[in-house]
């Protein structure tokens, strides 16, 4: 089974520019998550999709961040315009949708997209 794929692996942009990160989840995984780790801090939740629907976007920092999951397959996370504090590693994770189960949901993480804003 192929894992969660993210690209680019590293992006360097200037403040004010736009960056789009992409995540391809494991095939058949309806749950898709975005997390972010800012340097020196813990990994923090950004948002959760079930198929193409946003279930929880409580972690999105502000309206400069836009996540989409067209057709319930891959997802993109766009940052526009980027600011210095957006630098960090953006992780995508996916899991199966287990109907009626509220237990531990085993997430598979991608390797992350490192974003550097200069």
């Amino acid at each position: 089974e192929a894992g969660v794929t993210q690209f680019p692996s590293h992006s360097v942009i200037e403040k004010g520019q736009t960056v789009t990160l992409r995540c391809d989840p494991i095939s058949g995984h309806d749950n898709l998550y975005w997390y972010r780790r800012v340097m020196g801090k813990e990994i923090k939740f950004l948002l959760h999709f079930v198929k193409e629907s946003k279930q929880d976007e409580s972690g999105m920092p502000n309206n400069r961040f836009l996540a989409e999951r067209t057709g319930g397959t891959y997802s993109t996370l766009k940052v526009q315009p980027a600011e210095l504090e957006d630098s960090g590693v953006y992780f995508c994770a996916s899991s199966r949708l287990l109907a009626g189960v509220s237990g531990a949901n085993v997430l598979t993480f991608g390797a992350g997209s490192r974003l550097t804003v200069l």
Partner: protein
């Protein structure tokens, strides 16, 4: 105050030693407790998860949860150089999807 506190280390021990990694938390609603291992330039990989209190063992790894103290631990027996990685604790409320992570402890096992 952070919901989950974890000493970032770094922690360096000789090969064969028993390693103890710990997290404390403040949210008493957390019910699922996980330990992830992350190698450099890779994503976090789930090692173990525990529901509520108690112990869980998997090979050289043992996870413990003490909900009364809001304290969780991961023990690694007979540590190997290949165990060198960052270990992250993560927790969630039952039924919720969002994981809350600790900062991660960077561990090095010296041959």
């Amino acid at each position: 105050q952070k919901e989950v506190e974890q000493d970032p280390g770094p922690l360096s021990v000789p090969e064969g030693a028993i390693v103890s990694l710990n997290c404390t938390y403040s949210n008493s609603a957390f019910q699922y407790f996980m330990w992830y291992r992350q190698y450099s330039r890779k994503g976090p990989e789930l090692l173990m998860y525990t529901y509520s209190s108690g112990n869980k063992e998997d090979g050289r790894f043992t996870a413990q949860v003490d909900k009364s103290s809001k304290y969780i631990s991961l023990f690694i027996r007979d540590s190997q150089p290949s165990d060198s990685a960052t270990y992250l604790c993560a927790m969630k409320v039952g039924g919720a999807q969002k994981l809350v992570f600790g900062q991660g402890t960077r561990l090095t096992i010296n041959p």
